[in-house]
Structures are given as structure tokens and as C-alpha cells.
Amino acid sequence: MNRCFRTILLSLAAIAASATVALADIGQIKNVSGAVFILRDKIQQPAKPGDLVQQSDVLITGANGAVGLTFIDSSRLSAGPNSRIELKQFRFNPTTQDGEFVTEVQRGTLAVVSGQIAKRSPDAMKVKTPTTILGVRGTTFAVQVEE
């Protein structure tokens, strides 16, 4: 079943990949332990503290991996082992503090401390999982997704 889904997803991804736009850096990796990678434009590279992240990046941790990031709106995300987290959408205006932040936890664990985006507008920060969507009202919480 897994392979079956993957085939479909890959076909869909190939269609969607045509419109990728380079966007500004939205946050920074602060700490890394064990195996941690950033997947960007289909290229997976080891992550290290100080690396900048962009919208559409996927964070991947191995069996012993963990990673912590801070975003330009002061949101903080951290992931535990065997995680796959996509930074799906990020938009932030530092002057008005308006923005949008959508993260998808595809598997693993994610701890979230929301920042200015969620503070400014209650529906602006969301965390998706394969089965649900979480609306963030300015808060600290954690999500686990099991495949």
C-alpha cells in the first residue's frame, strides 16, 4: 500500500514541481543532534547550526536525530527522531506582523512555541498532519504522527 501511494504521490509531485519560486530565508537551525537533513529542491543535505531555511524545505531526522529552529517571527519548532516536517507556507511582514505559517508533520514528533504570526491573528498558524489540521491560538504544544 505504501509503494502504491508513493507512486501516485510521485506522479503528482512531478506535475506540481513546475512552479517553484525562490523565497527569502524564513528561519535558522539553532541546534542539531544525530542525523538531520534539509530536503530542498529534491536535494537532501546534512543540516548544521546556523543553516537558513526557506519555505517548502523539508526537515528530516534519523533514528537518533533531533533539531531545533527559530523563525523570523520568533516561532520555535523542534523535532525528535524519525521525523519528517515540511515548512509548507511561510509569510511574515515584520512591520505589521501579519503573516501565515503552515507546517506539515508527515511523521515523527514536533514541539511548537508559536510566535508573532499566531499572536497577531488566531488563524494564521496551522500545523497539518496526514489526518487532521491544528489551529494555533498562540501557544506551546507538541504533535506526534505515527505512520
Binding site: 500500500m1 502504491c4 501511494f5 507512486t7 501516485i8 506522479s11 535558522q28 537551525i29 539553532k30 541546534n31 543532534s33 547550526p49 546556523g50 533531533a66 533539531v67 531545533g68 529552529l69 527559530t70 520568533s74 520555535r76 523542534s78 523535532a79 525528535g80 527522531p81 521525523s83 508533520v105 514528533t109 514536533l110 514541539a111 512555541v113 498532519t129 496526514p130 489526518t131 487532521t132 489540521i133 491544528l134 489551529g135 494555533v136 491560538r137 498562540g138 501557544t139 506551546t140 504544544f141 507538541a142 504533535v143 506526534q144 504522527v145 505515527e146
Partner: protein
């Protein structure tokens, strides 16, 4: 093309026939807030949505989308999320340093704060530093723009001299535009002669 569509339909049908019974896929838990502010996470959308607004309040969502409340505890949260929580970067911190009149010298009273700032900056991994200089309203706008930037640059220089390995340090001067304490023009105000530093 038509053939591809048929193939996709067949694949989808194949997936559907082997779909297992719903099992728990997502687990969410609201954690105690650092500042103690009242907060919430809304799980799901529409009529079925569940609001978590108590510390360690939790919910599970299965593969069919069914949401069920399931309270947690500190011990259980630590067991599941320990590694993720341990990787949480420290909160952004801000510091205010005050300056002597018409000077880029930090006041004697701000020395301790300066030491705390340097120690905190040294402790952080991949720290980003935002330095913003300000003046009071004595003197011309142009002079104050220059002085505020010099104050910010003085703090940047101290960070560099203290071997702070920042991923970036941004120093800007805001002149007399953003007083901490509003005053009439040409009025001396020690609380406005300051540099604000944010560590992230």
C-alpha cells in the same frame, strides 16, 4: 493521456481495497505556557473540532479523522516528546543598555546588564543579534541619527571583541524617533539614551 488516467484510477482503486481499519495517527498535547498566558490549540475543523485549552489536555486523531480527547501528563509527555522538547531553542531575549550623555559609553549602572548579555550571547548556538541604538531629544535629528548608530556599533564591537560567534549581528540607529519615554524636544532623558539588543 487517457491511458495514464486509467492507470491512475486503477492505482487509486488498488489502494482503496487494501485500506486498513482506522488507527490512531496523530496525537496532540497542549503544554504549560512559559508566560502563563491562556492559549489553545483547535484540533480539526468544523463541528467535529476539539479545543485544547488546559495544560496537558490532549487529543488523538485516527486515520478516518475521528477525534478523541485524551489527557496527558508531564511524565507521559516527556516520554513521547522528550527528544523534541530537549531540542527546543531558547526563547528570544531582549536587553536594554543605557548610555552617558552624548556618549557611546555604557552607564556604570548598565555594566551588569552588559555582562549578562555577553554571557547569554556566548551560551547560545548560532545566535542572531539585533542591535538598535536610540538617543534622547537633545540635539539635531541628524546628530542623533549618527549618535544612535554609533551606540549600536559600540555594542556590536563589544560582541565581536568578546568572541561572540553570531550568525549575524545587525546594528541600526533610530535616532530620537522612538523614545522609551516621550518628552518635549531638547529635553534630556537618560531612559531614552539606550541600545536595545535582541538575541535570537
Amino acid at each position: 493521456m487517457r491511458r495514464q488516467i486509467w492507470l491512475a484510477c486503477l492505482m487509486l482503486a488498488g489502494c482503496a481495497t487494501v485500506k486498513p481499519a482506522p488507527k490512531v495517527n496523530t496525537y496532540v498535547v497542549l503544554l504549560p505556557e512559559e508566560g502563563g498566558a491562556s492559549t489553545a490549540v483547535i484540533v480539526g475543523e468544523g463541528a467535529q473540532a476539539v479545543t485544547l485549552d488546559q495544560p496537558f489536555g490532549g487529543a488523538t486523531v485516527d486515520s478516518a479523522g475521528n477525534i478523541q480527547r485524551q489527557a496527558s501528563s508531564a511524565a507521559q509527555t516527556d516520554q513521547i516528546f522528550g527528544a523534541a522538547l530537549a531540542a527546543q531553542p531558547p526563547k528570544a531575549l531582549s536587553f536594554t543598555l543605557y548610555f552617558d550623555t552624548n556618549s557611546t559609553q555604557v552607564t556604570a549602572a548598565s555594566r551588569l546588564q552588559l555582562d549578562t548579555l555577553m554571557a547569554e550571547a556566548a551560551r547560545r548556538q548560532a545566535v542572531e543579534v539585533q542591535v538598535t541604538g536610540h538617543t534622547d531629544r537633545v540635539g539635531s535629528d541628524a546628530d542623533n541619527d549618527r549618535l544612535s548608530l554609533q551606540r549600536a556599533e559600540a555594542v556590536r564591537t563589544m560582541l565581536v571583541q568578546n568572541n561572540i560567534k553570531a550568525t549575524f549581528i545587525r546594528a541600526v540607529g533610530r535616532g530620537e524617533r522612538e523614545p522609551l519615554v516621550p518628552t518635549a524636544d531638547e529635553q534630556a532623558e537618560p531612559r531614552n539614551r539606550r541600545v536595545e539588543v535582541i538575541l535570537r
